[in-house]
Symmetry: C2
Subunit: 114 residues, 2 copies
Amino acid sequence: MKEIEGLTREEERAAAVFRAMGNPARVRIVRELSLRRACATSDFVALLPLAQSTVSQHLKVLKDAGIIQGIIEGGDQCYCLEPETVRWLSLFTHGICCPDETDCGPDSCSGPEC
Amino acid sequence: MKEIEGLTREEERAAAVFRAMGNPARVRIVRELSLRRACATSDFVALLPLAQSTVSQHLKVLKDAGIIQGIIEGGDQCYCLEPETVRWLSLFTHGICCPDETDCGPDSCSGPEC
DNA sequence: TCCATGCATCGTCTTTTTACGATTGCCCTC
DNA sequence: GAGGGCAATCGTAAAAAGACGATGCATGGA
């Protein structure tokens, strides 16, 4: 992929995070973590119709993008969301929707006109 | 990419939209549209260090994902954001951030705990 | 200590994406 | 009707992503 000069740091980060989220298995993983707070790799292997190595690779992509993080819970390695990134993503996306409005919630914003 | 069964329609859509947004040039395009409301292909060709055919292809990816749409403005073909999709994306993303809270704005939500 | 278990990483193959030039198609204006 | 400008599409080459099995590496019982 060609590098785009003049891209803001925010936009670069956005592209990286969006790319990491741009796979059904990874969306599923993130969603699961959003609901269950923390899961081990084995949970995702059970959840997804993919080989263990593939799941592990997907987790790595999400981790490298800063979307999830590995933690130790009760002595076991498991994953959870990286709150800062998730929150940042939410704000960035909202910023596309409502570039001007500063005081509109997810339910009140009108979206971009055309 | 392998199909994941048991994926909700929402998650499939999310993966497709995220994937379409997962490229620096396309983030730049969407951002520009968010600020300028409507642009012709030539505007993007001027904006990005890419060949015309490549820019056109990027626009097609965004269009296929339902993120932008082609319109006629003053007799000229140009593009603008698809408000419904942008809004939906904002909500979906916010839903990852705050799966339970229904009444939190982008500035008030606390993000997922870990 | 030895084995099982759970994950990460490596090597490899296949598929998809990205980028470009060339071509085509469509209007506008002569 | 001829020529020019703009944008989509085609063909293709290079790069990246996705998937899997095999392998490596801790750790925690027997």
